[in-house]
């Protein structure tokens, strides 16, 4: 039997010991002495969050399908165990082997949201590794970052040996082959990094330097070696139907956030909402073949025993075979007593029919994400949803028996006025009025309709048309939330409307990290040293400590958040090529200011630049469409490299 890294005494005194023992169904055990590459795959948050992430399951399954690689999982030890590990000098371990991460070859950390940044430092610290990449020695694991936050890795660049930009399926084998070849040849860590920097999608931050102008903006970037690329292009799986899929995902013992089979039906999004980073960086849209998905569903339900299945993608209603897939799932799952958890769908007759089949209408709610209160502002953000569509959808749903509606909005969008904010209350009110118009009194269950309007604060993100936009201050945000609340209270049907809003402090910090540069890393380091951890958990978020750290490090929050960027400013993330070109984003930024909408990818190609990947929805001539020149790919090493 495996020897656990934690003693019986420790496991019995901490919360949920099952987080740390591994042994779950479909977890992979190998002989560590016989696997050439030991890989620790980390989601830097608590087990229940990390285990709910599909990306980790994909990488875990793919890496373990290779005989010479053993990929294990690592999650952030919760605060109770964190204290014990520090006190007793217990090194962070992989859940499978229960052996120290510091003895492995790689430590991969997925970066799904900015507020996990101090947790990265906890992982490194508990693993007993130096926090800064340049301080790491020969026999320490290579620390790799991946996931959406790597589209601006600069605020955390100092902590990572390398970043893998883009989809993991394509280059890991090559990276490992190079690692093994370098090891066989007696090469050093530096030799490995030098070669890795020439593999597509790999960014080695310590080989690049940033210089700044007097006003604090970036003057330029310099690479330290001639034979490494100036720009790093994201990796893309061109045929997602043929890509590896985790048919035997690990099944946790304890209840986790997403305790179900997850079917990723497509990658990317055609919509082009101007605030949305995922909508740009995952382009182009690539659908998985519906027949494959049906097989995956059957196979995965059998292999896991899960009682629920859900679909995953951006804008799932745009998946071309959605009807066929849902019909199949409804029939198959009904037979097996499996629940289907639907993604948020565009509300129409079809989706309402599907919803009524798989949910209890009385208990479920409809979701609309108008994002902005007025049509004017929805045009600015390129959100196609119109008031007419929302009200028609709501009327249809009310006739079908639904009485609950959830509405999602953002506050602080570029060009937002008081009138736009008032629109939130007005739209909520119109939906309530629609209920009373549509449903005759005698048919009203409890006589009521329940509308929940939620607002989040808009944070400009890299690689979106709004990357140039100023972000609001905390005070402005709270003022806007106050006006929203007031606007709702003034409505005739205000008793049917509930309003929720987010904390503003976290949004400000997220804004700094999203568009930060290398100078921000010292603040993150300082905050970690002063005890900040699990910042995405409101009970552990200490804004006052963070503010002290910005002061102590002399880093100005406003420089990163409220400042409007010039059209030609060099951004920290400009060296990354995510497919979508800067010219396209700038054109979209200007169209936003003119309140002009742009059609989606299915209607008309906008020449965003993602056509250069030559796959998915992009027309075959899309690479030329936007006047994009093909990148002169840096001469890439083959096989043995160097």
């Amino acid at each position: 039997m495996r020897k656990l890294a934690l003693s019986d005494d420790i496991l019995l005194q901490i919360e949920k010991p099952a987080r740390y023992i591994g042994n779950e169904v479909n977890s992979v055990m190998k002989d560590g002495a016989k696997t050439a590459v030991r890989f620790a795959m980390c989601f830097p948050d608590v087990y229940e969050i990390g285990m709910s992430h599909l990306g980790i399951q994909i990488i875990y399954s793919m890496l373990n399908s290779w005989d010479d690689v053993w990929c294990e999982r690592v999650y952030s030890p919760w605060v109770d165990l964190d204290r014990i590990m520090r006190k007793n000098h217990i090194p962070l371990f992989g859940l499978e082997s229960q052996q120290p991460v510091k003895d492995m070859d790689f430590l991969g950390i997925t970066l799904q949201y900015e507020m996990c940044y101090t947790n990265i430092l906890q992982i490194l610290d508990l693993a007993q590794l130096p926090l800064l990449a340049v301080d790491r020695g020969e026999n320490m694991p290579v620390v790799i970052g991946g996931g959406p936050c790597t589209y601006n890795p600069e605020p955390i660049a100092a902590f990572f040996d390398l970043f893998y930009i883009g989809e993991a399926e394509t280059q890991y084998r090559r990276l490992f082959d190079w690692y093994l070849a370098n090891k066989r040849a007696g090469g050093t860590r530096q030799d490995f990094l030098r070669g890795a920097a020439r593999i597509p999608g790999i960014y080695v931050p310590q080989f690049y330097e940033e210089t700044y102008q007097e006003d604090g903006t970036i003057r330029g970037r310099r690479k330290l070696y001639d034979n490494i690329p100036d720009t790093v292009r994201k990796e893309v799986v061109t045929d997602v139907s043929d890509a590896h899929y985790p048919l035997k995902p690990v099944v946790p013992f304890i209840k986790v956030t997403q305790d179900r089979v997850v079917l990723e039906i497509q990658r990317g999004c055609i919509r082009g909402c101007r605030f949305c980073q995922a909508g740009q960086i995952y382009r182009p849209v690539r659908e998985r073949h519906v027949d494959k998905l049906k097989n995956y569903a059957v196979e995965m339900l059998k292999n896991t025993g899960h009682e629920e299945i859900s679909l995953s993608s951006l804008s799932s209603s745009d998946y071309s075979c959605l009807n066929e897939l849902l019909d199949f799932l409804i029939e198959d799952c009904d037979r097996k007593h499996i629940n289907i958890s639907l993604p948020s769908l565009r509300i129409d007759a079809f989706s309402l029919d599907v919803m009524s089949k798989v949910q209890d209408v009385k208990k479920s709610s409809l979701t609309f994400a108008p994002e902005a209160g007025s049509q004017r502002l929805r045009d600015v953000i390129n959100k196609g949803l119109t008031e007419e569509v929302i009200l028609n959808g709501a009327a249809l749903a009310f006739e079908g028996g639904w009485t609950r509606v959830k509405l999602y909005f953002m506050l602080g969008l570029p060009t937002e006025t008081e009138e736009d904010i008032r629109g939130i209350g007005e739209l909520s009110n119109k939906i309530a009025a629609t209920f009373f118009e549509t449903v005759p009194k005698e048919k009203r269950i409890n006589g009521k309709v329940q509308i929940v309007a939620s607002t989040s604060f808009f944070i400009p993100k890299p690689f979106t048309p709004f990357q140039w936009a100023p972000m609001c201050t905390k005070e402005e945000f709270l003022e806007k939330a106050y006006h929203t609340k007031k606007g709702i209270m003034e409505q005739l049907n205000q008793k049917s409307i509930k309003y929720n809003w987010h904390e503003a402090d976290v949004s400000v910090l997220e804004g700094v990290f999203a568009r930060g540069d290398r100078r921000v890393s010292q603040v993150i380091l300082e905050a970690y040293k002063r005890g900040c951890l699990f910042d995405s958990w409101s009970e552990y978020f200490h804004n006052d400590v963070w503010m002290e750290c910005f002061d102590a490090c002399g880093v100005d929050i406003g420089f990163y958040t409220t400042r409007e960027r010039a059209d030609d400013e060099i951004f920290p993330w400009d060296f990354i090529d995510c497919g979508v070109s800067r010219q396209f984003l700038l054109r979209e930024w200007n169209r936003a200011k003119e309140q002009t909408v742009s059609p989606n990818c299915k209607v008309q190609c906008q020449g965003c630049g993602a056509g250069r990947f030559r796959c998915g929805i992009c027309p075959t001539d899309a690479a030329r469409n936007g006047g994009m020149e093909e990148h002169a790919a840096a001469s890439l090493p083959e096989g043995g490299l160097l």
Partner: protein, 233 residues
């Protein structure tokens, strides 16, 4: 058809709590392709009942649960199918078909036997057999059980049916595990420590539930006749 499943739980699986074990078995039953019966309604669930919840940290060689199935080939085939989808630390020991009029597992439980063994690196208790004898020879062993809602005075003596030392220095006990008057091994050890003046730190011994019993003596009989829960099938 009602089915009674006996299983063992040990090793790392002792850290998995009762509710998570239920979830584990629900998934395992689906993986094994067992034609299990579901409840009605929008979120149907498997009809499943556990004999006696096992606390986190305790191992067992005598756990029971009942399920209902619509069809099956044989008990042996079901046992094999289940064992193929288990993890290390859970083993299906037997599968048996219950008579239709059988009481469910939880209602049947009347007693459970336990072994308490000092964990590695802990000192064995000297002269254990005599100390246990003296302790058990008391007329009454009063125990104050505090729950969130109430304080109950119990007499442990009534519910301890056997208490002896084993060859290897561990403690064996057979105690009441019924819905009325259930006794936990730690309660006995707490009083034993008080009686002898010893201090055994919490978690110093590994507890293993050896078997779960039903009382097959006639109801008007004042003696007990304990038989393992799967012996009634």
């Amino acid at each position: 058809m009602k089915i009674r499943i006996k299983f063992a739980k040990y090793g790392t699986m002792k850290y998995i709590g009762h509710l998570d074990m239920m979830r584990f078995f629900q998934k395992a039953i689906r993986r094994a392709g067992i034609d299990v019966k579901y409840s009605e309604g929008f979120s149907p669930h498997q009809i499943m009942s556990f004999a006696a919840p096992l606390g986190v940290g305790i191992e067992s060689t005598g756990e029971y649960m009942d399920i209902e199935v619509l069809s099956m080939t044989s008990a042996e085939a079901m046992k094999q199918a289940l064992n193929q989808v288990m993890v290390e630390g859970v083993e299906i020991l037997s599968v048996s078909v219950l008579p239709d009029n059988a009481q469910n597992a939880m209602a049947s439980v009347s007693a459970a036997s336990y072994r308490l063994k000092m964990k590695e690196g802990r000192f064995p208790i000297e002269d254990l057999q005599h100390k246990l004898q003296d302790f058990y020879a008391q007329e009454t062993i009063p125990y104050t059980k505090e729950t969130k809602k109430s304080v109950v005075e119990l007499d442990l003596k009534q519910g301890i049916y056997e208490l002896t030392a084993e060859q290897d220095g561990s403690v064996y006990m057979l105690v009441n595990a019924s819905s009325s008057g259930s006794i936990k091994p730690v309660m006995v050890m707490e009083k034993f420590c008080q009686f002898t003046g010893m201090t055994i730190p919490e978690g110093a011994c590994q507890i293993t539930r050896l078997e779960t019993y039903t009382d097959s003596a006639a109801s008007d009989d004042r003696t007990h006749r304990f038989t393992p829960l799967d012996a009634v099938c």
